[in-house]
């Protein structure tokens, strides 16, 4: 099969093109670095079979971050036959810089200029550009399918490797290198001028050799090369384009959204609206609707089953299949809505602005503004979010961002908060949920700060990020986002959850000697749960069933609620039934007080994420950091739950005022200690007679 690479600058529309050419549904967004790994798909043009490889965006063939390294290695492997180079028309000059780098390597290129926005900065004369670069150029209008067919036809062309070097290279004086390395190709000299360490390392040069090569080239060699390339590009643009005078990416909205005083409030308002719509207004309405609908379907089936007089069969379907599962299923609207809003944020171009605003704050705790994308995506699903940590260009920042991701409360925890919290807090559950989300963020930032001063110092972080323009999401895309998320949720419920529910059911219905017990007493799960439960006495839930539900939740967080429903023998999707059952002292799962519920919710928020996230962490940050991450999560979850339990217990006994006062005085003490510490540090500086770096 003939391999075709899809290469281009970040956010130039590669994956959108990949989706339309191969009829795929890969994740896209209006942000730098949505694609972080290669994606392959085969397609046919007539009788010829091709495989198209989508790569993360790059600016040149000298990688800076982890995802750029992926593309660089793919290109240098030289397994492909052709490269489709996607350029954004609004940033043509800079996009063509990469084209030149590829042409220097002698690649066979098909240049596709993408016209993403209606308002364009350049008006392109395709023929002239073709003539200047001596490669085929196609102007792609995203709406028009005709051009896609044209591109497919061009792929069938015979491989056409460039023989003549690009003319601007003649003007560069490589003589210093030529005298030392006589028999090398032109590309060797170019890469040496570029001081491209990654290239030489890939070609097997040692650090010593690379250092020697870099010593030979002029000090400003990189600048000489970049100047030559850009002067050539300036010429090309003058010949082939008419330029409209506006700044690409600039918008009137930024006056408000990036304003010194309004930026943070605006972000918080947007986030609050998203959570309000998801949890309470639209989301809750559709959830209730779906819940009643599911009950309507399942109750006749259960009635029919009860007539069979087989308690095992009835319990199996009522508890393992219908009860817990339909409860989780009724949360489909809320989960899908949350993903939908996150996708809208991604598409809008606002996330880059958020990264810009948050670089200040996150910088203080040793993170980069770029982490905000990963952390925001963490509200949807930790597993996919952890992968986006590849955007970081520093290993420590990448590990830190990936480790913090699970503290952002993911969508799988929505049922836990609504069902368990709702039982005790009723209408004021909204404040509990907001509090939990905030607690997740605060814990994440605190851990980041601690890691930054201990294990994972992150210095030399670069932050160079291009601003995309604001864009509206098309109706077609809205439909795609919704259908994709509905599908993935249903698949998850239908595969992972159903099998997990059956396992939990079997473990809680059979003893170690495989004897069926109807009420679960003496079952395997009860024995395990009872063994572990005393450890949870200090955090307020010494109950085998709750501990078992938490254990089951290690596979997927939704299982926590479905297990609780199963233990309490709830066989319908009505959320209220589960909620009221956990208030009854006779139930298997029973919470004695508000304090123990709060502590349970906090534990669910902070403890080890699902199996899928753990395996993703293993893949992205390695065994050592995954284990450290899990240990930190368990430790932090236990400690914070303990504190919350005891504070809430105190509030129940002494009233809320003394507790608030105690908390305030603790915070004041911490602030005072920090102040004294800073003062001592400053004094030391004064002693060094202003010679230290800080006060020079």
């Amino acid at each position: 099969m003939r391999e075709v690479l899809l290469v281009g600058n970040p956010n130039s529309g590669k994956t959108t093109f990949f989706n339309s050419l191969t009829k795929s549904d890969e994740h896209i967004g209006n942000w730098h670095g949505v694609t972080v790994e290669e994606k392959k798909k085969a397609f046919k043009v007539g009788n010829d079979e091709f495989v198209l490889v989508d790569t993360p965006g790059i600016y040149s063939l000298a990688p800076l971050s982890f995802e750029e390294e992926v593309s660089f290695k793919l290109i240098e492997k030289k397994k492909h036959e052709k490269i489709i180079n996607i350029c954004d028309l609004n940033n043509l000059q800079r996009n063509l810089y990469l084209t030149l780098c590829l042409l220097e390597e002698g690649e066979d290129i098909l240049l596709v200029v993408n016209e993403i926005d209606k308002k364009v900065k350049f008006k392109l004369n395709t023929k002239e550009l073709e003539r200047c670069l001596d490669i085929p150029v196609i102007l792609l209008d995203a709406e028009n399918k005709k051009e896609i067919d044209k591109i497919k036809d061009r792929l069938k062309d015979k491989p056409n490797k460039r023989k003549k070097p690009l003319k601007y290279l003649d003007k560069i004086d490589f003589s210093c290198l030529k005298s030392h390395f006589k028999d090398k190709d032109l590309i060797f000299y170019i890469k040496a001028f570029e001081k491209n360490e990654s290239f030489f390392k890939l070609k097997g040069f040692t650090d010593e050799e690379i250092k020697k090569i870099f010593e030979i080239v002029p000090v400003n060699s990189m600048e000489i090369l970049a100047n030559a390339r850009y002067s050539f590009l300036d010429e090309i643009i003058e010949i082939s384009c008419a330029e409209n005078n506006f700044v690409y990416g600039q918008s009137k909205f930024d006056k408000i959204l990036l304003n010194k005083f309004l930026a943070l409030p605006c972000f918080l308002i947007i986030l609050s609206i998203i959570f309000y719509l998801t949890f309470f207004s639209i989301g809750a309405f559709f959830s209730d609707l779906l819940s009643s609908f599911l009950e309507l379907i399942t109750s006749p089936i259960l009635d029919a089953l009860s007539e069979l007089n087989n308690s095992f069969l009835y319990n199996f379907f009522a508890d393992a299949v219908f009860g817990g599962l339909s409860t989780v299923l009724s949360f489909l609207p809320q989960v899908v809505l949350l993903f939908f809003f996150l996708s809208l944020l991604e598409d809008s171009g606002y996330i880059t602005r958020v990264a810009f605003i948050f670089e200040d704050i996150l910088g203080k705790v040793g993170l980069s503004g770029k982490s905000i994308y990963t952390l925001l995506m963490g509200f949807g699903c930790s597993t996919t979010a952890i992968m986006t940590a590849r955007n970081m260009d520093n290993k420590n920042s990448k590990i830190k961002t990936a480790l913090l991701c699970p503290y952002m409360s993911c969508s799988a925890k929505i049922p836990i908060y609504t069902v368990i919290g709702g039982a005790f807090f009723g209408a004021s559950n909204i404040f509990v949920i907001i509090g939990l989300y905030l607690l997740g963020v605060v814990v994440a930032l605190s851990i980041s700060k601690i890691l930054d001063v201990t294990l994972l110092k992150s210095d030399n972080q670069t932050f160079i990020l291009e601003f995309p323009p604001y864009r509206w999401t098309s109706m077609k895309r809205v439909y795609k986002i919704l259908s994709k998320n509905v599908k993935s949720f249903l698949v998850k419920v239908g595969s992972v959850m159903i099998s997990m529910n059956i396992i939990v059911f079997l473990l809680s219905s059979f003893t170690f000697s495989f004897k069926y017990v109807e009420d679960g007493s003496g079952s395997m799960l009860e024995s395990i749960g009872k063994f572990l439960a005393p450890a949870f006495e200090p955090v307020g839930f010494n109950n085998w069933a709750i501990v078992s539900a938490l254990l089951a939740g290690l596979v997927a967080k939704e299982v926590v609620v479905s297990s609780i429903a199963m233990f309490n023998g709830i066989d319908s999707s009505a959320i209220k039934l589960i909620s009221s059952s956990i208030l009854l002292p006779t139930s298997v799962v029973y919470f004695a007080s508000k304090a123990s519920v709060l502590s349970f919710l906090v534990f669910c928020l902070l403890y080890t994420p699902c199996l899928a996230s753990i395996s993703m962490m293993l893949q992205e940050i390695g065994k050592k950091w995954t284990i450290i991450g899990i240990l930190i999560q368990l430790f932090v979850a236990y400690i914070v739950s303990f504190i919350v339990y005891n504070l809430a217990l105190g509030a129940e006994i002494f009233g809320i005022l003394p507790i608030i006062l105690t908390l305030l005085s603790i915070i004041l003490m911490i602030v005072a200690v920090c102040f004294v510490f800073r003062f001592v540090k400053y004094k030391k500086c004064a002693r060094c007679k202003n010679l230290c770096d800080k006060h020079k």
């Binding site: 600016y59 040149s60 000298a62 800076l64 609004n90 940033n91 000059q93 800079r94 810089y97 900065k121 570029e194 001081k195 360490e197 400003n220 990189m222 600048e223 090369l225 970049a226 100047n227 850009y230 330029e243 506006f246 700044v247 690409y248 990416g249 600039q250 930024d254 990036l258 010194k260 930026a263 943070l264 880059t352 990264a355 810009f356 605003i357 670089e359 200040d360 704050i361 910088g363 503004g369 030399n460 972080q461 670069t462 932050f463 160079i464 990020l465 291009e466 601003f467």
Partner: protein, 78 residues
């Protein structure tokens, strides 16, 4: 010699050259089109001024303030 860090908000300057210790950052700036002779302008600053938003070659780029010292300007405002 002034750098982009010292530049005034919303005024155009001409870049003289790029100079700094971190080779990767220098190369990235050059790749992004921050080469000698180009016009550059600071468009916005973040709340604590840790990041600046700049305009270069007709597009917007946000850069950490400490890295702006790499961008050396020709003295006068264009």
């Amino acid at each position: 010699m002034i750098t982009l860090k010292d530049a005034k908000l919303n005024k155009y300057y001409k870049i003289s050259h790029i100079l700094g210790d971190n080779l990767k950052v220098v190369r990235r700036f050059l790749e992004l089109g921050l080469v000698g002779g180009q016009k550059v302008r600071i468009v916005n600053k973040s709340i604590l001024k840790k990041v600046y938003l700049i305009e270069i070659r007709g597009y917007l780029l946000s850069i950490k303030t400490s890295l702006l010292n790499y961008i050396i300007l020709e003295g006068d405002v264009v």
